[in-house]
């Protein structure tokens, strides 16, 4: 920023419209690129001298560290909420019982019905696809999978090789150009154009594969598509980076950092245009075609995965560019802003919600992890490699006469106060410190891993216990039913239809009693509880209370993992109680 404030040498060439696209020419000498920064310390009017070199390096470092920290934080948060809540799976019954009775709007009711249908169908299809296949089917599927994977990797490798040769070709072409020749500038657009084209076309080919192969699980299908796309994009980027690092950086006498910055700028801009066009053609036209011309195709769905991957790709470009062309982030901000609103409008107008809604939380984890791992770490390593080992160009940039950009930190260290140097030397650069820290982290990780394993086991046990409780309850209630039927047939049936008041009153009183006295009503008309049947119900109440108390006593022992002992004890108890019940039934039958 102080660079902007201080005097900047004016550009020598004219500003034509093409520069917006190519980023060369006028922009070459401005603050936009690395090359525009001076290597002197700007002596500002008021405070201490501003060391441009150090500022440049440190700003970038701080920014990258902040990005990394926020990424890790959000990854951890979504990971936690995703994995912890995985246990509560829905089930059809829960879906059915969640109908909201207070909805009165006609359209809302219809919409809810449609949603419920979709959810039911989805849960059905998930369950249905877990059935077994014959082995020949499996073999065939495996063969198809293998074929498509090979094909997709082949495509990715082919695309990156094409890019490599193309950039080499461009390299050779670009050698003798000095002044601004419009055609030559426009030809530099070739590489980004091809890159974006590949990024657009090949995922479409991948989605064609979807029609051929059948996955057992819709989720693995989405994962496979994502993996392929990521591999494609990362390989393209990798080839480009390699090209830049190895070849361009070795060029003598040119401002290679700026040229890399320009290439990145071109990539970003062309990518932006392609995304806009893609959303226009892909969604708008498909909508028009789908609704008017060929109605059988239907309205296009909004493909979340593809859009997010595009976003990750452009963000990776911006991260790589942070070193070579710092102002690209501002452009990136504008680009995302515009893109967001365009996509939003397009979404509202054109697309219908995707059929497989749901699993959004898990997808978010995957996407953030994806954002972090390949792209951020890749960009970080590239920048680090540049800072640490490559020789900066002689003619431009703030690190002009140093051997490595990192030397500036070394110089600074040698001029600073003692305690800073001490921290630097002992803490950041000493191997012993890092060794101790990593040892500590390993021990903590192992400890937490054991805790997680124990908890998982506990969850399984608790679930088993709930299922067993349900079975016990059902069994006992069936016995109760039989008992009640026996009682009712012996006493005389008086269906006393009292007035509504009394019925309400009795209902309320009945249900105000404690929880475990649930007598099943075998017919819907509410019958007054005649006193003859209240005696066995009191007896049963007592038995259930005793069972409850004994079950609560059982809670203390299974603290250590012993999965077999808790479920068997209540069943023994039930046997005893049933025997007792049987005996009492015979007693009751006597009078």
């Amino acid at each position: 920023i102080p660079q902007l404030v201080s005097d900047v040498p004016l550009s020598t060439s004219q500003f034509t419209g093409l520069e917006l696209l190519t980023g060369m020419g006028y922009f070459s000498n401005t603050v936009m690129y690395y090359g525009g920064y001076s290597n002197h310390t700007v002596a500002s009017s008021s405070s201490a001298p501003y060391n441009t070199q150090l500022a440049y390096l440190l700003t970038i470092a701080v920014y990258l560290v902040l990005c990394g920290v926020s990424l890790i934080y959000s990854m951890a948060r979504s990971f936690q909420s995703n994995y912890v809540l995985e246990g509560a799976s829905g089930g059809a019954w829960i879906l059915l019982c969640s109908w909201d009775f207070s909805v009165t709007n006609e359209r809302a009711v219809r919409q809810r019905k449609a949603n419920l249908t979709i959810q039911l169908k989805e849960s059905l299809s998930e369950k249905a696809q877990q059935d077994q296949l014959s082995s020949s089917e499996k073999l065939k599927r495996f063969g198809v999978h293998l074929g498509t994977w090979l094909l997709s990797t082949g495509l990715a490798v082919g695309a990156s090789a094409a890019i490599y040769f193309l950039s080499e070709f461009e390299q050779k072409q670009a050698q003798p150009i000095e002044g601004s020749d419009l055609l030559a500038d426009a030809s530099t657009l070739l590489v980004p154009f091809v890159v974006s084209l590949i990024n657009l076309v090949v995922p479409l080919i991948y989605s064609l594969f979807n029609k051929i192969e059948v996955f057992s699980n819709p989720r693995t299908q989405v994962y496979a598509v994502i993996m392929r796309n990521v591999f494609l994009k990362m390989s393209i980027l990798g080839i480009l980076c390699y090209n830049w690092m190895d070849i361009v950086a070795r060029e003598p006498n040119t401002c290679w950092e700026s040229s890399i910055g320009q290439a990145l700028y071109r990539l970003v801009v062309v990518d932006f245009f392609f995304l806009l066009l893609g959303s226009f053609f892909g969604e708008f036209l498909s909508n028009v075609i789908g609704s008017k011309c060929v109605p059988s195709l239907g309205v296009p769905e909004f493909d979340v995965a593809r859009n997010v991957l595009d976003l990750i790709y452009s963000q990776t470009l911006a991260w790589i560019a942070i070193y070579f062309s710092p102002l690209l982030t501002v452009i990136q901000i504008f680009k995302f802003f515009i893109l967001f609103y365009v996509k939003k409008v397009s979404l509202m107008r054109n697309c219908q919600p995707p059929r497989r809604s749901g699993r959004a939380a898990q997808m978010q984890t995957i996407f953030i992890a994806l954002l972090f791992l390949p792209s951020f770490v890749g960009a970080l390593s590239m920048v680090a490699y540049t800072v640490w080992s490559l020789k900066p160009s002689q003619s431009c940039g703030p690190f002009r006469d140093l051997d490595k950009p990192y030397d500036v930190v070394e110089h600074w260290m040698s001029t600073e106060k003692a305690w800073v140097v001490w921290i630097y030397e002992r803490v950041i650069r000493s191997e012993l410190f890092f060794f101790l820290v990593s040892l500590l982290i390993l021990v903590l990780t192992f400890f937490f891993w054991q805790v997680i394993k124990g908890r998982k086991l506990l969850i399984i046990q608790l679930r088993q216990r709930i299922a067993n409780e349900g079975k016990d309850k059902g069994f006992l209630l069936e016995k109760l039913q039989n008992l009640q039927k026996a009682k009712k047939s012996s006493a005389n049936k008086r269906k006393t239809r009292t007035k509504t008041n009394q019925r309400n009153f009795s209902n309320r009183q009945w249900y105000a009693e404690p929880d475990y006295n649930q007598t099943p009503e075998s017919h819907p008309a509410p019958v007054m509880v005649d006193p003859a049947s209240s005696a066995p119900s009191a007896l049963i109440q007592a038995m259930l209370a005793r069972q409850q108390a004994e079950l609560e006593d059982e809670y203390e022992p299974p603290r250590h993992p012993a999965p077999d002992s808790p479920p068997s004890a209540p069943s023994a108890l039930i046997q005893a109680m049933l025997a007792r019940q049987q005996a009492e039934l015979e007693d009751d039958g006597d009078y």
């Binding site: 019954w93 829960i94 009775f101 009165t104 449609a114 419920l116 099943p520 819907p524």
Partner: protein
């Protein structure tokens, strides 16, 4: 019939409040809404409103279970779904905020039990799903899907494996669903 709306006598009001889960205001509001229907035939002491009129209430008009609700709460001998005022209060009480889980699940069971036999068998479940998934052809489930869905439901909730869901199994399933109490609600 002029402007004479019958007031609810105070002792009846307090009695209703004690016997149901509704507050005084809710009972008075219910009385007012109910008298709109009975303004015409004011000859019997506890007038009985036919089902068609009850179904014109906006809260019930688009509910997929409206007919079942009226039939469940009706005390008429001919089972035509007509409600007296006390039946109406019963209905509102069961669907109110302060009714307990047992009451709600009991009445939900009776509402879902389309053939009134005390258990939810396959036919009841099928009618239930059809009520909830809509009447147009593209939202209705196919036969195959329906069969699969019903077998899934029975597998999940039929504890004693008799092919039907009785009240206690139903209540067991309900107790695992956290938002049942808040969604089983109709407020005037």
């Amino acid at each position: 019939m002029g402007g004479t709306t019958s007031q609810l006598p105070k002792d009846l009001l307090s009695e209703y409040q004690e016997l149901t889960f509704l507050t005084k205001q809710e009972i008075l509001l219910a009385h007012k809404r109910f008298s709109d229907f009975t303004r015409e035939g004011r000859n019997s002491p506890s007038p009985r409103v036919p089902m068609e009129k009850i179904l014109t209430l906006p809260e019930l008009k688009s509910n997929p279970f409206r007919e079942r609700i009226c039939q469940v709460f009706s005390t008429s001998d001919v089972k035509d779904g007509s409600l007296t005022f006390e039946d109406f209060l019963d209905l509102l009480s069961a669907f109110s905020d302060s009714a307990t889980l047992e009451i709600k699940s009991h009445y939900a069971f009776r509402i879902f039990d389309f053939d009134d036999d005390g258990t939810l068998d396959g036919g009841d479940l099928e009618k239930l799903v059809n009520c909830l998934t809509g009447d147009t052809d593209d939202t209705r489930l196919t036969q195959e899907e329906m069969r699969q869905l019903i077998s899934n439901i029975l597998e999940e909730s039929d504890i004693d494996k008799d092919g039907t869901v009785n009240l206690s199994e139903f209540q067991h399933v309900i107790s695992r669903s956290p938002d049942f109490v808040s969604s089983f609600k109709i407020v005037l």
